[in-house]
């Protein structure tokens, strides 16, 4: 059997590894339009921050493919040819497949702001972006970050830590709209401002002007303007699906897949940021551009392609990061929705926050801000959310409750 995987990042590699667990003989070819040695996107901000060296961005060694008896080639897939069961590379090479995994991820989009392109204007999304950005990450430089999403703020945090002057421009009235609720966002915003970030909410950028001395001037709708050495644009992403145009592949917010990650085309699977996958809540399918989801769905796809048994239990939204000396994390449905009730830990100090959202007694999501110990609590909740387990009693006793149950199971283990 001929297997082709497009993309050598989270979903693609996870797919490869899962596939090889079940099938050691089929030939596997991986195509990537970036370097053959895989790197991890999640690490990019940490490199800019100076926390990890460049070499550590790469998460597999040179012999990785050989060990997995796979071939990796560089190439840009420009066309999917379902009738021929092949993909066409920009170079003209045709790669036939029996099974295909599309793990091409997503790419950032640029808002239609006049002047928002050219030197000094970058995304923070790929290794190439970071190579462009790195020379600017020097003390004394000024950066404007457009957008206050998860990745944008990580870029801002890295810049601030490296001694840059940082402004963050957000169109809406609060930061991290999709990752945090109002309270957590406010806690984070307070910390950001305290750390010295020039945070501007409700700010619409009208246009970008270039000055003679290579500076960029942002003009805002409110009449104010801001000069900067460079701009990071973080205003959303969309799936990399251009090459599927005209194939009849069903696409919604991403490539539509079932619980085995099969698309609507025979033999074609999709996973990761590019796919619209079942949601853990059982609600509408979702595109979660998240690392854990890419790993999980890649693995499901890989197993399915090797004719193994696998059914995705659905993607659970989970985010965590520490920046500006505060840890924030969220999971599942952390916003109060209709019919939900929430429990907030009242024993925490004012600058800490933990909220659990329940529906009919079942935890469906949680959010925290403060110290990293709080994340462990979210971690312990995760299986309950996934399995939709009713939480008896006061969630304040959550840890003790979890504890007593872990305790029971340890006991059964010790007795064995």
């Amino acid at each position: 059997m001929q297997v082709v995987i497009i993309g050598n990042s989270a979903a693609g590699l996870s797919g490869l590894e899962a596939f090889r667990k079940k099938d050691q003989s089929s030939s596997v070819t991986i195509v990537t339009r970036e370097g053959e040695v895989p790197y991890s996107k999640v690490l990019l901000p940490y490199y800019l921050l100076g926390k990890i060296p460049y070499a550590n961005l790469f998460t597999r060694d040179k012999n990785y493919y050989a060990r997995l008896n796979a071939k990796c080639i560089t190439g840009n897939v420009v066309k999917l040819l379902p009738e021929q069961q092949a993909v066409l590379l920009e170079s003209g090479t045709l790669l036939p497949y029996d099974k295909l995994l599309i793990a091409t991820g997503s790419s950032p989009v640029k808002p239609p702001i006049p002047g928002l392109s050219g030197k000094g204007i970058y995304h923070l999304w790929t290794l190439a972006d970071v190579e462009n950005l790195a020379p600017y990450y020097n003390k004394g430089k000024r950066v404007v970050v457009l957008g206050s999403g998860f990745v944008s703020l990580q870029g801002a945090w890295a810049a601030l830590s490296r001694g840059l002057d940082v402004s963050v421009i957000e169109l809406m009235d609060r930061i991290m709209p999709r990752v945090l609720d109002d309270h957590a966002a406010a806690l984070l915003a307070t910390r950001m401002i305290k750390s010295g970030v020039d945070l501007r909410i409700n700010t619409f950028t009208r246009e970008i002007e270039r000055t003679g001395d290579e500076k960029l001037v942002l003009h805002f709708k409110n009449g104010k303007s801001l000069t900067s050495d460079f701009i990071i644009v973080g205003t959303g992403v969309r799936p990399n699906i251009e090459f599927t145009a005209g194939t009849g592949l069903k696409i919604d917010a991403g490539i539509v897949v079932n619980k085995q990650m099969e698309t609507t085309l025979p033999g074609v699977y999709a996973a990761g940021d590019v796919a619209q996958v079942p949601s853990a809540s059982g609600g509408d399918p979702v595109v979660h551009a998240l690392w854990p989801t890419a790993i999980e769905t890649g693995s499901i796809a890989g197993t399915a392609m090797a004719s193994g048994n696998s059914r995705y239990r659905g993607s659970l939204n989970m985010n965590v990061t520490q920046m500006f000396d505060i840890t924030v994390a969220s999971m599942g449905e952390f916003m109060d929705i209709e019919g939900s009730e929430s429990w907030t830990d009242e024993n925490l100090p004012e600058d800490q926050y933990l909220k659990i959202v329940l529906k009919d007694g079942v935890p469906i999501g949680a959010i925290c801000a403060g110290g990293s110990e709080l994340i462990s609590t979210l971690g312990m909740l995760r299986p309950l959310i996934r399995e939709k387990v009713q939480l008896q009693g006061n969630p304040g006793m959550l840890k003790a409750l979890l504890a007593s149950n872990i305790a029971q199971h340890q006991q059964t283990f010790i007795k064995q």
Partner: protein, 153 residues
Amino acid sequence: MRFITMDVTKCVVCRNCEYACSFQQTGDFRREDSNIRVEYYDDVKICLPLTCMHCDDSWCLEICPASAITRNVKTGAIEINSERCAGCKMCILACPFGNIHFDKINMVSRKCNLCEGEPNCVSFCISGALQYTESKNSYQNNRQIFQRFIENL
């Protein structure tokens, strides 16, 4: 493989294990630096020592975006390579037992590494609650155990 087993009917929450673990890593007796955590829940009267169970399918290992988590071939321990760890905390969120902790000084995640096959927490456990024992019925199917655990909730 040998595992650290934790007997909740023996633990007295004396915290010797926590201090010993902290000492092993930092030379100090700071509970926050310990990879084993012991908690006494006054209201339910439960003594719970918890440390990594080195699961067969390790949630943390699978999720680590830095490939910093690996299994030690000699001891079987799931270990975090702090050189590679970027400090993204995804593993902390992934562990359903709360067994990974964040080292605020070095900004990396920390967890039990079985002390190269001679776990200090066990050597300093004066109640006998912690044992380092060979076991076939290990936590290999931790996910299944967890499954059972949540079913019982």
